[in-house]
Symmetry: C2
Subunit: 328 residues, 2 copies
């Protein structure tokens, strides 16, 4: 048996079961960032995410500055998904000995620029030798106690919303994989130069009941919200905000929006009365249900059918194809 | 040009030059851990270190539990070298898709056990797919403001001391590389199952003027203290506390003690009057000098000669051999 049989999510579930933490930990493994008690006003946030060459980026697709920048953005997105602000970063690089030092300095330039933009202090890190280039960033952040928003707060009969347009990460990846980079580099921007929704996350967290970023695809993240909150979701496929890029690639745009990873949009649940107070552009894509199940309706041509999404959307390891059952 | 020409230390120096931080940062890149302002009593510490397969460990040498355990210890050692206590950990794994999930769970078992021992909460992390197995751990810690001990506080005419016996990490590595693992696995223990000097670090930090761990070899770490404190060092080779393991391998034990990496002992400077108050077993190996140079005297047979160590001890990338000049 290997990781392709059980997948990343199952592995994390097994690891998580074994861990017992002290009272300083408000939220451990199982949210976008860990939450630690800090003082009367705020909590500490701690998160880490890695980009591995030829898995998350390719040197012939991205400039080193873009790689560094993306490594920052994916981590800032995790802090945004808690309603927090990032404050300090550690950078851990694994580099082949044959790497050009200038290439590394350019990765750091990308990291440094985005850190400056977000007012994140770059306080340390580590460089190790290895066969494969990877960049792990750890972010420390803060969130006001009354603003913190976890994955676990959704109740039944709430609205399900997303920021921005969906499917652009996966569509950009497909453009890069199949296409002519000279021609498509600009179009693939949302994949190569994603932006975290930090200010949006700050605003949403004040009103939302649960909040998560969509880095592993909408259906995968809905499963995580379901596991944490104990509610189900009914999504209306007709309302999914599709990014124009999804129409450029040879695939069903709705499928990209549902399953596509590499997306830094935010997914949240909110009570109807609170949505009016939220001054963030977002799209209602469905509602929460008491029944613990993720269903999608509104497919063109079969408006009455509900498709139950019983597989998680995006798993770095799983070898088996994503399955789904249709019932009416 | 590649990293083998400039080395890890030069690369870090170049990166560090570019970074400007805010007032929350008391110590950024350039110590064992970063130090951030926290409250009136204590500072936050933040550090990260990675183990890469076939660079820092091999599966035929170590059990997965030992690998996990070592990943914790090398990070705890960085917190110890600030005088602090670790509080929370993130674990970032890069795993080949063919990895047996049980192997990963056993790595985590090793991590969990050491975290429990040190009362570190295991609060999150990340799992990515990659070709090469690596384990990055990030530790958050705390240190009382008056206990914090940096690399930069050494003055002239102070004593230079180390905890424990030296050379055992490198000697253990050499035993593993050349030997029969069935026979030598026990002997190579200090390499395979190193222990951080956490309690010693806590005690030393109260009195020492500078403090660092010896993970990259004594001479390399003396260079770091020299760069940070602006003093030089005169080391007496005859006083180096040699671990018995160094005599088992086919090399000069003093050379192993001076240049051997993979060591979690602590190196510190202390005023003569304060050494008496320190209740930690340690060995005086030399003294600090106004002259910014690292010299070693007391080689057997050439007691009057001083060898200037102008190369850093241990660099993961450098291809050129370590050079040294001898003058009398």
């Amino acid at each position: 048996m290997d990781l392709q049989d059980i997948g990343e999510f199952e592995l994390i579930r097994r690891i998580r079961r074994q861990v017992k933490n002290s009272r300083q930990v408000l939220q451990g493994i199982g949210d976008d960032a860990a939450v630690l008690r800090h003082d009367k006003k705020s909590h500490l946030l701690l998160t880490t995410d890695a980009l591995v060459e030829n898995v998350h980026f390719r040197r012939d697709w991205s400039s080193p500055e873009q790689i560094g920048r993306k490594a920052v953005e994916v981590n800032v997105s995790d802090i945004a998904a808690m309603g927090g602000l990032p404050t300090a970063a550690l950078v851990s690089l694994i580099l082949p000995a044959s790497t050009d030092p200038l290439f590394v300095e350019r990765i750091y330039r990308g990291i440094r620029r985005r850190c400056r933009h977000y007012r994140i202090d770059l306080v340390g890190g580590n460089i190790s030798r290895g066969k494969e280039l990877s960049i792990s960033i750890t972010l420390l952040g803060r969130v006001e106690r009354d603003r913190l928003c976890l994955r676990s707060g959704a109740g039944p009969d709430e609205l399900v919303c997303v920021t921005g347009k969906l499917g652009k990460g996966q569509a950009g990846l497909m453009l890069c994989s199949s296409g002519d980079m000279d021609k498509d580099a600009d179009k693939a921007g949302p994949f190569l130069r994603p932006r975290a929704r930090l200010q949006e996350g700050r605003a949403i967290a004040r009103f939302a009941t649960s909040l998560i970023d969509i880095s592993d695809g909408l259906v995968g993240e809905l499963h995580r919200l379901m596991d944490a909150s104990g509610v189900g979701f009914l999504i209306d496929a007709a309302t999914l905000p599709l990014h124009p890029l999804t129409k450029l690639v040879d695939d069903d745009p709705r499928r990209l929006a549902l399953f596509g990873g590499d997306e830094l949009e935010l997914l949240f649940t909110i009570r109807k009365k609170d949505l009016r107070r939220l001054k963030v552009r977002s799209t209602i894509i469905g509602r929460t249900t008491r029944e613990r199940r993720i269903s999608v309706q509104g497919w063109p041509g079969q408006e009455d059918a509900r498709t139950v999404m019983d597989r998680e959307g995006y798993d770095h390891f799983l070898r088996r194809p994503r399955s789904s059952r249709t019932r009416s």
